[in-house]
């Protein structure tokens, strides 16, 4: 079991709810994620959200990224533009653009080729033009997109669009990223690529935080150090109709995080998650 410490808060979600046309989609969502510090290495955080279809994962993600204002509650992230005060990093409400977001449909600019899209993502970077081009070429090669760099989104396969969408956000937003079902529609090689990218981001900076949703429980247990399950809670015996967090697994505390290989404890955890999801 890896020794670790929890430092300042990176994400604080407080009593979040979203109501569409009088219908409560998600409610009472509160959680907090802290900077995990492991001595001797840069250790980011990977947080997974699991839940059956229609329970509100995508809705939650839109509010987490500041793209949609919640009906009640708030999402707070550290404000690094301010100096530490009383040993605490001042917080701010999340705004659009603070957090990278890859949606479930792998949306891209329809009028930009893969290369142009990546260049656009880097437009505010302080790098020189040649450094930018080098960086883009490196990423294109690493992610197997070199051959399609001159192609438009409508000329790409689903997996290629997906990888372009992830790369754009990687280049643009630095360390805080939300991905809605980044593994759906990918082949085993692509899944490996994204998995490696997650680990790369995770080790690249202390503060990097990747939040993703998936329907693959095993993948979530393997990659994440914190798993939340969104489901309908039972109210007076019958299942409710608004999604909320019904269970949190802190894999760090359980000694299951950052393992090279899954062991029997992991599989017990996977089974427990499956049972909880089935009854929610």
């Amino acid at each position: 079991m890896t020794a670790y410490e929890q430092k300042h808060t990176l994400l604080h979600v407080d009593n979040l709810s979203v109501v569409y046309d009088g219908k409560t989609i998600i409610k009472n969502i509160s959680f907090e994620e802290k900077d995990t510090v492991v001595p001797g290495r840069e250790q980011g955080q990977i947080i997974a959200f699991l839940g059956r279809s229609g329970r509100g994962k995508s809705t939650l993600f839109r509010t987490l990224t500041g793209l949609e204002a919640p009906t009640t509650g708030r999402v707070l992230i550290p404000d690094y533009s301010k100096t530490v005060h009383d040993g605490q990093q001042p917080a701010k409400m999340v705004e659009e653009g603070d957090v990278g977001f890859v949606n479930q449909k792998y949306t891209l600019f329809r009028h930009k080729t893969v290369e142009q899209a990546l260049a656009f993502a880097l437009r505010r970077s302080p790098l020189s033009a040649t450094e930018k081009a080098e960086k883009i070429n490196q990423y294109l090669a690493d992610w197997g997109l070199e051959k399609v760099k001159m192609q438009y989104p409508n000329e790409l396969s689903g997996g290629q669009r997906q990888r372009t969408a992830i790369l754009e956000q990687l280049l643009n937003s630095g360390h805080y990223m939300v991905l809605d079902e980044p593994f759906s529609g990918l082949d085993i090689g692509n899944i490996d690529n994204v998995r490696k990218a997650f680990q790369l981001i995770n080790r690249s900076s202390e503060l990097s935080t990747v939040i993703f949703s998936t329907h693959d429980i095993e993948l979530a247990v393997e990659l994440a150090d914190s798993i939340y399950i969104i489901g309908y809670p039972r109210e007076n015996g019958s299942p409710g109709t608004s999604g909320t967090i019904i269970r949190h697994f802190d894999l760090k505390k359980m000694g299951l995080a950052w393992s090279e290989k899954l062991n029997s404890d992991h599989y017990d955890c996977i089974k427990e998650i499956r049972d909880i999801m089935l009854s929610s």
Partner: protein
């Protein structure tokens, strides 16, 4: 080639079948024309009469008239494009949205009402022609531009927002730059309306010439051959404009595959 499959919905057919079907239709239309133009009470002029009509039109300076019509059409199109784009692109701003919506609704006003007010404002007949065409084209153009804006998925706007685009940048990248090909296609569709109205509008000012004047003159003399020849010329020029804009869109925007 199996003619039985020609009557099966959603059937994909080979090239040979397509050409055969097209040939059959052309022969049928041609045959109908010949049949309809024979007999004592003929519906259409014979192909020979149309040919004569065409030659006489050509001798009267058909090319100059076409140029005059095109000039009017382009002038009106240019101004209406300018106005429509300005109003439509401003419509994402909540304060200016009602303006765009109102403009689009005005297309239900009858033509005569608008020309009446225009006549008070404008005394010069040529300006009148351009204004009438421009106003009508703009109303329809704004309508289709608004529909296009409404069809932009939220995900595309969100995608730009998540890449740290300011709202103005979103407007520029997603709506303006990202949809130029749509604008060209709408221009193409609306040009059909303008081209059709052109003939009517040109009769306001006979001295300026144009295809509308030619057709009006031929009308007076009940020269069927000439009228049909003119109709065909107008149709051909319209189709040429249509094809040109389509080629422009496909040529410049590889991703524009609709």
């Amino acid at each position: 080639m199996k003619p039985a499959t020609w009557f099966k919905p959603f059937e994909t057919i080979d090239r040979g079948s397509r050409i055969t079907i097209l040939t059959i239709w052309i022969v049928m239309v041609g045959g109908f024309w010949v049949l309809a133009s024979t007999g004592s009470k003929h519906l259409f002029p014979t192909p020979g009469q149309v040919c004569e009509g065409f030659i006489s039109l050509f001798n009267e300076g058909l090319v100059v008239h076409i140029a005059s019509s095109l000039a009017l059409c382009f002038k009106a199109t240019f101004f209406s494009l300018l106005i429509s784009l300005l109003i439509a692109y401003a419509s994402p701003l909540p304060f200016l949205k009602p303006l765009a919506v109102a403009m689009s609704r005005i297309r239900y006003l009858p033509l005569t009402g608008i020309t009446f007010y225009l006549a008070i404002l404008v005394s010069d007949a040529r300006t009148m022609q351009v204004s009438v065409l421009m106003i009508f084209m703009s109303l329809y153009f704004i309508t289709s531009l608004l529909a296009m804006l409404k069809d932009i998925p939220v995900e595309e706007i969100d995608h730009a927002r998540s890449l740290k685009c300011s709202r103005w940048e979103v407007l520029w990248e997603v709506v303006i730059k990202g949809r130029i090909d749509y604008v060209i296609d709408m221009l193409r569709q609306n040009l059909a309306i303008t081209w059709m109205m052109l003939v009517t509008v040109e009769s306001i000012l006979v001295a300026a010439g144009g295809l509308g004047v030619l057709i009006k003159n031929s009308d007076k003399f009940m020269n069927h051959g000439r009228i049909v020849a003119l109709q065909l010329v107008i149709l051909a020029v319209g189709l040429l404009l249509d094809a040109g804009l389509n080629a422009l869109r496909k040529g410049f925007f590889r991703y524009s595959t609709f």
